[in-house]
Symmetry: D2
């Protein structure tokens, strides 16, 4: 079951065209990913500043179907998935407003040793998190 | 009674020093102000893109007492207050984490006709909102 | 010939992992696109708040090859390209630091009437801009 | 002599009211401060991730005199000043567009040991930088 997250779109996320600035939709998805980590018991500060392992994003994409406005209540589904590569995982996101899909996105993460930036296999904890929310 | 808002600090708000980037604390306060408008019945999109009246910020200040980290649960109090000037109002914010005050901030807003950008007295609706949450 | 843009990476773009936050790389590319519009004679304010035509992004993707740090001098190439669809164009970006490719990105834009949000063919002016910088 | 910095206002900095989002003006000032550090010979990455000393902002304020639009060419002056407190310094900023002052801002920085977060006197290097650009 994907993780479900919702929050109201804020003024700071809009641009002079009157809608959400495109790159902020990816930040919204990342925020939903963070909420899924908290829900699974991770402590965010140590997760993102861990000297043993980090999960930087190596690829991101997003498709926009409808404009998003300040004040819109956005629902985001977060579905992680194992990759064929044992040091990577993908996350698939879908953003809904009033039950309509307004955007879909994807991020690919690779597990590294933060200092050398060399790859390592996904840890047991992150594999558990994937299992919890994968489709 | 001030309006109370809370949310978790996100990774995108941090900087390479490992704490929340200073200007993002003002955005967090503005977000709490937006939440207070929603709570009082305003529709955000039309509030911020209204052709009759707008409330741009003419002054903002913030004092930082402690560092704020990714994953911290922040509680923000929002207390609006009338100004001596009938076309202005102030908002006073305080940010708490684990019951400790980590920042205080202030914004001053002026009511204008958006096209001419000339001043006008505060509307009845915004005066009601001030009354609702003022200290 | 692609348009070439460069600027220094700023502290506000970094996150607590010590590198540029992933979504900000797309904003950096959009900024380079804006610079190419200015170089071609467009006036940015009216370009982005035009009531006759707008070019919202319907798709964006980015691949990260190396981490980007505060203070890095980034060189971005901007290469627009016609789409088979007469109301769309693509932009291909590549970000270099010290002559090494650190990221590649793409955005797809569709030409619309801003109010109805219906599609329209690309204008003569934008076709000229594409011709100027396409590969 | 204050340090002088200029750059074009970007679409990502605007909001749905059609002007620059208020908190981004402080980020623009911080960016000008970063440029002054580079001009004085500092290496930004190590300046902001130094384990010996850091200069977090303890106070910031900004006054807005005129709206700022996408595409505007902004000139920012950066004037640091010693504080009576030997572990602090202030920076005064003024933002000009077409020779008109559109905003003034201030940040107050304190010199700390990053790990214990205890205060320490300003280093020789930062005192030199203040001397270089103070009024």
């Amino acid at each position: 079951m994907p993780f479900e997250y919702d929050r109201t779109i804020r003024f700071a996320e809009t641009d002079a065209a009157g809608v959400v600035y495109f790159a902020h939709v990816l930040s919204l998805c990342h925020e939903a990913y963070e909420a899924s980590l908290i829900a699974a018991g991770f402590e965010l500060k140590s997760f993102f500043q861990n000297s043993e392992q980090a999960f930087p994003i190596v690829h991101a994409s997003v498709d926009f179907r409808r404009p998003i406005y300040c004040g819109d209540r956005a629902f985001i589904s977060v579905a992680p998935q194992n990759s064929e590569n044992s040091s990577e995982f993908n996350i698939y996101y879908e953003v809904f407003i009033k039950n309509k899909s307004v955007a879909v996105a994807q991020t690919r993460h690779v597990c590294i040793h933060p200092n050398q930036r060399s790859r390592q296999p996904l840890s047991h904890e992150i594999l558990q998190w994937i299992k919890l929310y994968q489709v």
